[in-house]
């Protein structure tokens, strides 16, 4: 029996929780929008990106390529969700 495929909402909640906990300690959750610029806005830096990539790879059993770990594919929560969902 295999685990059910996570939904976009599930991934979204997970990504938001990671960012709020690791990069925006103390911020009100409702302030983090789906299109808040994370990398280009200086919220998620390279170290946080590495941690986030590790988290996503481990949680969802996916592989995120080096060219995907940056502003082009991970600049917003929406981008990250799309990236993960595209690999599931």
């Amino acid at each position: 029996m295999t685990a059910p495929t996570p939904t976009a909402d599930h991934v979204r909640a997970h990504v938001r929780a990671f960012i709020l906990h690791s990069c925006l300690l103390g911020a009100a959750p409702e302030e983090l929008l789906d299109d808040t610029p994370l990398v280009s806005g200086g919220i998620v830096d390279s170290l946080a990106t590495v941690q986030l990539v590790a988290e996503l790879e481990e949680r969802y059993g996916i592989a995120i390529e080096p060219h995907e770990a940056g502003v082009a594919f991970m600049d917003t929560v929406r981008d990250i969700v799309a990236l993960v969902m595209g690999k599931l």
Binding site: L32, S40, G42, T49, H67, G70, A72, F73
Partner: protein, 860 residues
Amino acid sequence: MTAAAAPPGVLAGTPRLTGTPHDLRRFLATLLQLAAAVGVAWLFRIESDRRLVPVLALVLGGFAVHAWLPWRWRPWWFLALSLGAIQIVLHPESILPIALIGGALIALCHLPVPYRARVLLVTVAVGALAVLRLRGGGPAFGLLGSMFMFRLFLYLYDLPHEREQVPLAQRLSYFFLLPSAVFPLFPVVDPTTYRRSWYSADASIIHQEGVTWLFHGMVHILCYRLVYYHWTLGPSSVHDVGALAQFVVSGYLLYLQISGMFHIIVGILCLFGHHVPRSHNRYYLASTFSDLWRRINIYWKDFMLKAVFYPIVLRSRSRGTGTIVAATLAVFLTSWMLHSYQWLWFRGTFPVTWQDGLFWCILGLLVALNSVREQRRPRRRAMAGQRPGMRGALSLTLRTIGLFLAMSVLWSLWTSAGIGEWAALWRLDGPHPWRGSGAVAVALVVAVLVGVAAQRVSGRDWTLGRLSRPVSFARSAATTGAGLAALLILGLVPRIWTPSSRPMMVLAALQETRLSEVDRKRQAAGYYEGLLTFELTNTALWDVGAKRRMPGIATTPIWRFTGDFFDSELVPSMSLAWGDGVLHTNRWGMRDRDYSLAKPPATYRIALVGGSEEMGIGVNDDEVAEAVLEENLNRSPVGEQHFEILNFSLFGHFAIQRWMALDRFAWRFQPDAVFFPGHDVDGEGTVGVLATSLRYGKAVPFPWVRDLLARAHLDSTIPLQLGKRRLAAYSDTLLLWAYRQVVSDCRARGVVPVWIFIPSVYETRRPGLGERDEARLAREAGFVVIDLTGVYAEHSAAELRLTPWDPHPNPLAQRLIADAIERRLREPALARGLGLLDGAAPEPRAPIRSARNTRSTEYR
């Protein structure tokens, strides 16, 4: 009325397209601000030598059309505008090679062969082009390099991972990017980011952001000019703590020009829908080295993360501290090499210097240490709306000031002429080395108070990564519009009222694109020092090299080095097409027409011994002031005699060498008068010649000068800038000594010594400042003095100089000089003094208090 909305599925390459129809009012508001921005750029001549103003005019018209085009046509329209910008900036003949070579490189990326083969082919092609560039390829290579030499590899890197169909126009416009034509220092933009950011938010908001970035960019450039024109110092002026602080801090502040350019670039891209990330985000407010790295050139940072950092870290089994440190160091080492690679395309050399290596290694190490610290203690950010406490505000302020000062010092190392020169900067051996300490302390205290107060009053700090509210169009348009209106008013003021007061002159100077006084003098003195190899980046002089259209004369066959203190001379009987003019030498090695050795009967001969201005750098043979003056005097003679003016002027020669030129060349032509031009850089230039000769082990053939060098504790082990600093205190003494040698030699031969002051083209007025020091020295030495101050009074510097970065007199300025000398020679008193009227002998002069007896016999 609305602009066209994106029909679904039209642009498969831009899946995040969320551009929405915008109303006419928003469009007109943006258009109006953009027109104001063009007006500001025109009034302040923002990057005018890069032809930004006509390109912005193109952007204005292009934007007005682009915003209403159907989506599918917009990329093609942007591509057409980009090619139009290249047409504006480059000579037409450069465009076809760029288009053909660029097109071929893109085609190589898409050849139907395996991916590795394509990478190899592109690498070979780029290598071949690099060899051509190293062998002296023209300026088009700079633009070609800017457009292709980084983007091509990023493009190839992303090519196998493309998941969507990319329109051809977007592929092409990624390379032929509109702002690249004006700003070649913007080589790196990520192709995926470029495509995916296209209308990734509301169109009117993106367009408004574009105008806002244009405005910010212009403010940065104006601030840069304020610092550059009024606050920079040359290293030879650093004698005390105050000057040292000013030198170091002002050098780092000059980076404002680069950040201004980046803002303008991002602004232009936003106006055409490319919502690329913000760069140079308040980088002077960074509080750690990592913070600075995240704020400053984020395009470069993202490039390095993508190409170096993530591949190392994510492909590593261990993603621990060691891997992070190794990857970070690899990023900075790669940055070092790639910066040299960038210079290869701009300047045709691949500089590998200790300064570069140290700068990148130190910065890399500091960022790595910061990263390790942050890995263990993640950054905490203040909650939105949380007012910083006093302790937190003070801590952030101190860290910010500390980082700013540390970066200023590191920057001064990077931009120094050498490690020894940089170390010498800190040896303050002036008579009052601690002078300025009080002012520095006060400035630091004020900075701390302002930093704390700004946080407490505004209720927020300046840490990066805050959650911000969505951009409000109305608020952004109002603030940007008001700012642009203020700049327009400031730009108009000096055009309506003639600048007379100091603030008005500062405001007028903001509208100029030129070298600062410090750089102008360094440039003049630097001809001898070889500084125009453009290794210096602390000033705008590096830019001179990038813009220079002609090779340095010292690299051409018409120039040869003598191997002694005299240094160099022209090769006889040669011809050189140089810049826009032609330079001929006669059989005697003068830049002049031919003359017989024996003076013809009834001829008045003048020997002119000057420097680059008198030699006529950048103008044709018949446009040099000497040639114009000779022709005018013979057309309407003073007295009964024919005139011959023999031009012995030599590029990069100052007072002592000009005096030597009399002995080497002039006396055998039996001149009746010697014209010895004076400039405001003569003291600095003479000091530079001596310091450089000493540094490079050339024997100084004059005992009196050698004694002076010994008194100044100078020998060949002293770094160049330190030597210049020490010698600066003797510049008047040296000038007077050289002047006296000239006068003494003239007297011994019955020749009239005439000193002619020729002002800089920037000195169009000199109200109420009295006699200049150089004229006083010349008079004291016994010269007949002709002061041409005010010769340019009816003209602006822009009308008189060769180019914005080359202040040598252009043909108009040369003619004004010739006319002014002619007028003076026709004054009866002066004409009699020179023996031009009625065969009168030169006026007797007082005996010279000469240092002649101290002159070396070694040289004779």
